[in-house]
Each structure stands twice: as structure tokens, then as C-alpha cells.
Subunit: 391 residues, 2 copies
């Protein structure tokens, strides 16, 4: 038997879709409550979205999960929502779609943070990047009120990841998020913004051009329906998606109360690599990162180290910076000992060098000849001095 | 039977001394070769200093350890050296003396670094501090060419350790060494400088006042006899003493080729806590430290964390910086959800808040009342707005 041709299989896979009933039910349920409600997520996982929808529409008691629900469900028109989103170039993905990013499914098995959790009911997406095809996605996040230092490092990491063929995943906030996207764009790499509001909205407003650019060349993603506004809570629940979409997370700067630490906790929950960029211990914006580094996160100082830790395909093992190799480094200890005993600013006789070195005269004379052969000492009359190369 | 009174025992212990023959033999052998020669150290450990001295004086073959030795030994007068040192207020300690710091003995069992190692044959000491009584000695070392940032942090760590009753151990170089001593002195704590030259010499010359001050109030230590000058190699062998005298080592700043990394390696060899202070990844002076932190050293950001890691007596567990606690933090998720839905700049009706929050009207009304009781929202006509406390 011949195996099915791979191209055909891939084609079938990428065009496979979840059923419309499931999609509409998930859309409606998503509009009903806040994202990341773990009770709703587990009900949907257990009963399926359509059954949960039906139960709620018939006002059956589901353990007090939601109140006033039937009336609110009746007021929704998910089919029209879908149609309207499509006209705006926005698609709504649900599990079972070929484009569904499977990395998110781990969110169903990693518990809750601050009573939020679970995989999203669906994802609204704007932009050409296909979420199931993201190459080595890496979350690069951090403080909104980043320092210029933090922004510089986030930009370098974003650019290196792009260069290495990896995908940057971040929010759309000022500071580190912005710098990471800019770095990735400078490296002509794919980049994904995950929002705490509808993908048709720009928050902060000043980032509308950035978000429009990502919608043209990358992807803008949210579990909130178009039109929804961002809230504090939505930023926190959004963070689990940034962690869940990525192979690992780098925190570039974070104060002790930064929301980026929440993304860090999700990454730890997901047992994926958590990395932190150190900074001055005197900088409040590095304090939160240092706490993570003290409790098990990996210290990274540049993009290459990030790429290595998440295993970006084709990325070679990082070579440590070693500084210039000097001729001195090749000397044996006793040769170095004699060389050290040759005065820097004048010449000296072998006997004086032998006393300084604490080595016998015979051996010192032999070693001086060897150092002379290596070009490290020069003869001056009956004495020796350091050569220019050895200074 | 009554146990011997502890005071008497302590008194006997502190006045116990190694024999004079042993002391003179170690002094002479120390003058003969370079410190940290592992072959000489192991011969002395095996045969005793007096026997090794006798063998060498009789020019017996000891495996080519030293050449021209007999003549050089004959030219030495260790008894006169000792007498002259005593007149300068310098004492020479050897194993067996009550003041011998036992932490150094581990150096005999932790291998070599760059062909140097072993415990010292003896220690020349200047200053009132007794080396066997050092309270919680901690090495604080780093780059000579420290940044102002590094010097500031080293000073804080030195001062905190002094405050906590610990002893700072360092070299006498510019930069981190100096800053650590200054911090300890500012905290009125004991501090020890370990030199790569004789304890009667000041290197760098600019640190003569500092070293004289330490000789008055702390201790200046070297395994090199008075009069000896510093060499590159002697700095490296000196580093093992800094590590060996201390319960643990903090590297504050170090470039990738810094000598401080050598002290770090000795600390690792001794299986004692190795700590590093992070800095900007863009600073060459932090690069070496970051490499240590990536390969297992513990990240520390302040003196209290250092004291905790080496177990300074009486030091409490460090509490993490958490930032100010805010009223919001005490809210349940659904209360926070409603609070987030109350607009910042205007008031809104409960129905509009319910829509934004994605929670039913009945529940929202109940939660708004609760938030009102907590002083987080105010009634404005028929609507609600954020209180000043919640903004």
C-alpha cells in the first residue's frame, strides 16, 4: 500500500473546519461571560458548546454559573456577528479548525491563576499569519513603563528572533511589547499581538498604526469579540493566551507588580521555558524579573540565548563571550610566572628575575629563552625586558 | 564529672601554637617558591614542612619540584624574618596555631585551577582581627574597573553585611574591592583584605590609607612574605584564599576575563555559595557575572539576600519586595470585573456596566452595592462612578 500523498493530506488538514453549530455556540457563549471563566470552560469541555448553549438558553440550572442568561442569549445574533466580522477581515477560530493553535489546549490542564483559566472558547484573528503555522513562537513581554534600556534589549531580542526565523508574540502595550514587535518587524520577521479587547480596536490608541501594520503582515488575536473594550481583568486573562501560544516566554522588564509577571506564572504553569533579562538591581523595572530569576527562571542576555532555550529550529548552540585570546593565555604556569617577574618599565638581569619569580636561576634562564622565542621578552644588554607584544 | 569550664578551654585554644620548627620551615618554604604550588603543598602535607625543608636543604631529589634550591634555602634566615615582621606588627600563622582559619584546609581537597591550589604554607597577618574568630566572613569581589553602579551595590552589600554582624573579605583593588571595604567600614563592621603582595606593602599605592586603616581595625592578610611584590600569577593564587576564608562569595561586577571569575571558580570548587549581582546586559562589567548566573550561581540584588544565602547568624529570611497593597487586591474576581467596567472619566448606569462586564444586571447591582460599601464606587444620580480611592 502506498501512503496517501502528503500534499493532499496537508491540504485537507488546513481546510478542515469545525461545524458551524459549534462555532456559533462558542461565539455566543464567549459574548456571554468574561473570557477565562474556568467554570464555563470546563462545562464546555464536558458537555460541548452547543449543549451548554442549549441548557443556558432554556434557563436550566447549571450550578449558578451565570445569571440573567437566557434573556441575554436571546438578544445575541452570533451568525450576524460572524458575517460582520468577515466583512472586516476578521475570522473566528474554534477548536477543530485546522488553524486552531494546539498549544492553547494545555491551558485546560494547568489550573487557574487568580480564578481565571482554561483554553479560550474561540479566537478572533485579523491578519495573514496562520496561527497553526507560527514558526517557533516566543513571547516577549514586559513593563509598559519600560526604561530605554529595557526597550533596547527587547528590540534586540525581537530582531534576533525574527532573524532566526522565530515568531514574536506579545501584547500591544507601550514599552516592552511595542519594542519587541518593532524589533521583529525590523528583522522582517512575523509577529503576533494578543489583545485584551476586540481585534478591531486599538488600545492604546497611539498603537493603531502598529496594529494595522500587524493586521497587514502578521496577526492580531483576541478571545474577545470585535467591539469589546479592554479591562484590567481582560489583560490578566489575555496573558494566559500569550503564554499558551508560545514555546516559551521572556520577561524583559517588570516591576514587582507588573502584569508581565502574570504571563510568567502562566508560562510556569504550562511548564514551558521562562526566561528573564536582568537589569540594574537599582531599577524598579527590573525588580520583578530578578525575583523570577531568583525562583527558577533562566537568565538570558540576548536573543541568541532565548532562541537556544526555546530550541528555535536551526539555531546553533550559543558560544559564550570569552574576550580576546592573548598570547599570555597559551603559557604554562612557570613560563607565566617568569614573564610576570620581568619588570614592565625597565630591564632586569636573569638573577633578579629569578628572585622575583621565586624560581631557580638555571630554570629561569631556560624559560627566558623560551619566552624570547615566543616574542614576549627582548634582550637588553645582559638583561631582559618585556617585548611590545607582552605589554 | 564536671565538664571543663568553657572559658578556660577557649583560653587554652586561643593561645595554642604550632611548634617553632614547623613555623620556620613553612616560612622558608614559602619564600622559596610561588604560593599555591600544588606539588609543594602536597609534599608538605605528606611529609611535614620540616622534613621537606631538610630534604631540599640536602639537595635530595624530590621529583624535580624545585631547582637550585639548596643554595637559596641556605641564603634564607627565617628566624630573622619572623623577628623583623613582629617589629612591624606582623604575625605569621601556620596550621596548628589557634588563630589558623580552618576554612582554608578545604583547599587541600578541592583540586587545582590553572595548576595552582592547596592550602597556604602560612599566612602573614597585620591587624587586630583574629582570623579564627571572623564572624560570618563573606567575600565581596569584582572588577577593578567597576562602574559607579557596581561600586554603589558593592557598598550597599558591604554595609548591610557589617550591619548584620558579618565580616567582609575582599582584595584591595580599585573598584568593587574598595567599595565593599568602604561599605563595611561605613557600617562599622570588620573587614579583611587579602593581598597578592606582602602585607607591609600597599598595592595600589593609592590604597595605602585604606590598608593602614584595615591594619588598625580589621586584618590585612597574605601568604607572601613582607616585601614581596604583586604579580599577575599572585593575584590568581591569592583569589583561592579569599574564597577559602569565606562562607560564600558575591561577584558584584566582572567582565568576561575578570580575575573575579577566578575567585568564583574557587568558590565553586569549595562547594560554597556563589552569588552574583546582575546588571545591565549592555554593560561589559556585568557580562562575566551573567555567565556565572547562567551556569548556577545565585542571583542576589542586595545585602540582605547575601546574608540569607550564607546563613549569617541572626539574619532573618528575606521578605520579597511586593509593592504597596491596594484595596483592589482584596476584591473577588467578579467584584473586580464589575469595578473594571465602571468607566474612569464619567458615570454609567448599572445596565451599561453589566453589558461591559458581561455579567447579568441583577448580580451587577448586588456587586455595585458591595463595592460602594468598600468605598470604591460612588452613586451619581441613577448611575455609578469610580470613587477617588479606586482611581
Amino acid at each position: 500500500m502506498r501512503p496517501a500523498p502528503r500534499t493532499g493530506a496537508t491540504l485537507r488538514a488546513t481546510t478542515s473546519r469545525a461545524g458551524d453549530g459549534e462555532r456559533l455556540a462558542r461565539l455566543a457563549l464567549g459574548r456571554l461571560g468574561e473570557p477565562g471563566d474556568p467554570r464555563l470552560a470546563s462545562l464546555v469541555a464536558e458537555l460541548g458548546a452547543q449543549r451548554v448553549h442549549r441548557h443556558l438558553a432554556e434557563e436550566r440550572d447549571l450550578g449558578g454559573v451565570l445569571t440573567d442568561v437566557a434573556a441575554r442569549l436571546a438578544a445575541l445574533d452570533p451568525a450576524r456577528d460572524l458575517e460582520r466580522a468577515e466583512r472586516l477581515g476578521i475570522r473566528f477560530l474554534v477548536p477543530g479548525d485546522a488553524e486552531w493553535p494546539t498549544g492553547l489546549d494545555d491551558l485546560d490542564h494547568c489550573g487557574h491563576v487568580q480564578d481565571r483559566g482554561g483554553s479560550p472558547l474561540g479566537l478572533w484573528v485579523r491578519g495573514p499569519l496562520r496561527l497553526h503555522e507560527l514558526a517557533s513562537p516566543v513571547a516577549v513581554v514586559g513593563s509598559r513603563s519600560a526604561t530605554t534600556y529595557g526597550a533596547e534589549v527587547a528590540g534586540e531580542i525581537g530582531a534576533h528572533l525574527a532573524d532566526a526565523g522565530a515568531t514574536v508574540v506579545s501584547g500591544a502595550a507601550f514599552g516592552i511589547d511595542q519594542a519587541a514587535h518593532r524589533g521583529a518587524l525590523a528583522g522582517r520577521g512575523p509577529t503576533v499581538a494578543v489583545l485584551a479587547c476586540g481585534v478591531d480596536r486599538a488600545y492604546p490608541v497611539a498603537h493603531k498604526p502598529l496594529l494595522d501594520h500587524l493586521a497587514q503582515h502578521g496577526a492580531v488575536v483576541s478571545e474577545l469579540a470585535p467591539g469589546c473594550s479592554p479591562t484590567r481583568l481582560r489583560f490578566l486573562t489575555r496573558n494566559r493566551l500569550i503564554a499558551g501560544l508560545s514555546l516559551g516566554t521572556v520577561i524583559v522588564e517588570a516591576a514587582v507588580r507588573s502584569g508581565a509577571l502574570n504571563t510568567a506564572h502562566w508560562t510556569e504553569r504550562l511548564s514551558r521555558p521562562l526566561m528573564g533579562v536582568p537589569g540594574p538591581v537599582t531599577s524598579a523595572q527590573s525588580q520583578g524579573v530578578h525575583q523570577l530569576l531568583r525562583t527558577g527562571a533562566s537568565l538570558v542576555t540576548r536573543g541568541a540565548e532565548v532562541a537556544e532555550l526555546v530550541g528555535v529550529a536551526g539555531e546553533h548552540l550559543v558560544t559564550e563571550e570569552r574576550g580576546a585570546v592573548r598570547v599570555r593565555d597559551a603559557l604554562r604556569p612557570r613560563e607565566a610566572q617568569v614573564l610576570d617577574a620581568v619588570p614592565v618599565h625597565q630591564s632586569a638581569g636573569a638573577d633578579s628575575i629569578a628572585r622575583t619569580a621565586g624560581i631557580g636561576l638555571v630554570e629561569v634562564q631556560r624559560l627566558l629563552v623560551r619566552l624570547h622565542e615566543r616574542g614576549l621578552v627582548d634582550r637588553v644588554g645582559s638583561g631582559w625586558c618585556l617585548s611590545d607584544a607582552a605589554r
